[in-house]
């Protein structure tokens, strides 16, 4: 039970219920019209503001380790949080149109590689939390979603989600965001396809196929723009309220690395010339668990300090896509051999992506 509680640190859940309607225009989202320009203005003056705080207000010397670390934190923390708020709001709105139930029904009648591709793509946008992995897995398998497609979804959903995507876009630009998305979907697609081809249905725990099951769906579906906006705002509050400590922790680690770790150090261990750095990064990343929002600030510093892009992205994929708590949860539905094949296939895919990037970029 303790493991499962921990695995619920993801907050990828979007309300799909109908809240009590009513409230003024201001309360139901009108304040956004005022908040938006204010946020953009703050975003624009953030860099000088952070410098002023670190070097004037606190009197730290520019170029000193502590000074650079503090300035980094003061700039990154508000920037990332603001970016995240804006992104989550937009995506939560879109997600009021999606649900795991709808995704399941879309996948139920598909077969072959197409089902894997569709599952990998739907995994990007469908709200998913790894603490629901077991009921979701059973729900998918029992309505006839191919096992391989189910795995494609399970890999893609935590690894290539909208928060990861937009943070990557905001911090590194569209090229890296696009590369991460395309290769993440490719890993989910290929590993799910391979797992499907292996025909390992008999390595499911028997109760998966025998337990009484009913494919019901919840009664409440949101309708209309104001209600969807209200839901999106509430989801944003929930998600940002939940992930901000992880993000601040991530940025704090990043700030420490930024100020105290010399660039040559990481270049030697995580640079292109060290071929073994990719499998090592994946090996370290797999047992670790963090959502994408927490790991991206760390990745940012790794890159800035000379880590190769492929190595850094492989690390991020390993941390978000595979984790010890999720493995423990999945053990309830997968026999050890299937679980091992699943982990091995996905990890191998991630290592390949790392090598590919390091070779190309």
């Amino acid at each position: 039970m303790t493991v499962e509680s921990k695995s619920c640190s993801c907050a990828e859940s979007t309300p799909t219920h109908a809240p009590a309607s009513g409230g003024s225009f201001w309360k139901s989202g009108g304040w956004l019209l005022a908040a938006l320009p204010a946020g953009i203005a703050l975003y624009l003056i953030l860099q000088p503001l952070a410098g002023w705080l670190a070097f004037r207000a606190l009197g730290l010397a520019p170029g000193s380790r502590l000074g650079e670390a503090v300035a980094f934190f003061a700039y990154e923390a508000p920037k990332v949080l603001m970016l995240l708020g804006a992104v989550v709001l937009g995506v939560s709105f879109v997600q009021t149109f999606l649900s795991p139930e709808r995704t399941r029904d879309l996948l139920a009648r598909r077969t072959g590689a197409w089902s894997n591709l569709l599952a990998s793509l739907l995994g990007i946008a469908t709200p998913f939390c790894s603490c629901s992995a077991v009921p979701l897995f059973i729900g998918f398998v029992r309505v006839g979603v191919p096992l391989g497609a189910t795995f494609s979804f399970l890999v893609s959903a935590p690894m290539v989600n909208e928060v990861a995507l937009f943070l990557l876009f905001g911090l590194f630009g569209w090229r890296i965001a696009l590369l991460y998305t395309v290769t993440g979907v490719a890993v989910a697609f290929v590993s799910g396809w391979i797992l499907g081809k292996l025909r390992m249905e008999r390595h499911l725990e028997p109760w998966v196929l025998t337990v009484p099951f009913e494919a019901s769906r919840s009664a409440d579906v949101p309708r209309g723009f104001p209600q969807r906006l209200e839901l999106a705002l509430q989801a944003t509050k929930d998600i940002v309220g939940k992930v901000w400590p992880y993000i601040l922790a991530g940025i704090a680690v990043g700030a420490f690395l930024h100020g105290y770790v010399p660039a040559e150090l990481l270049a030697r261990f995580m640079g292109k010339s060290a071929w073994w750095s990719v499998p090592l990064a994946v090996l370290i990343g797999v047992p670790l668990y963090s959502n994408a929002a927490g790991i991206i600030p760390i990745v940012q510093v790794l890159l800035a300090k000379g880590a190769a892009l492929g190595t850094a992205l492989a690390f991020m994929m390993a941390v978000t896509g595979l984790s010890l708590p999720e493995t423990v949860i999945l053990r309830k539905v997968l026999k050890p051999r299937l679980l091992a094949v699943f982990l091995g296939t996905v990890a191998a895919g991630i290592v390949l992506v790392g090598f590919l990037f390091n070779a190309l970029m």
């Binding site: 219920h17 795991p100 603490c131 009921p135 979701l136 494919a215 009664a219």
Partner: protein, 76 residues
Amino acid sequence: MKIEILGSGCAKCKLLAERAEEAAKGLGVDFTVVKVSEYPDIVARGVMSTPGLVVDGVVKSQGHVPTVAAIRDLLR
């Protein structure tokens, strides 16, 4: 009224249980809150994303924690 909270014991499930209880008290009806945390029982009720709210055998919400006001509407 029988209110079931479906979930494997994560923070969101506890929050949902608290809110459901508050909402039910506000309605002034007789009710019991039961926590359903075993996976086979969750699956049997047709819920794929936890936490789930089931009232008298009917799935009212899943995958999120509605507000107290929203739960009150769902209980009516």
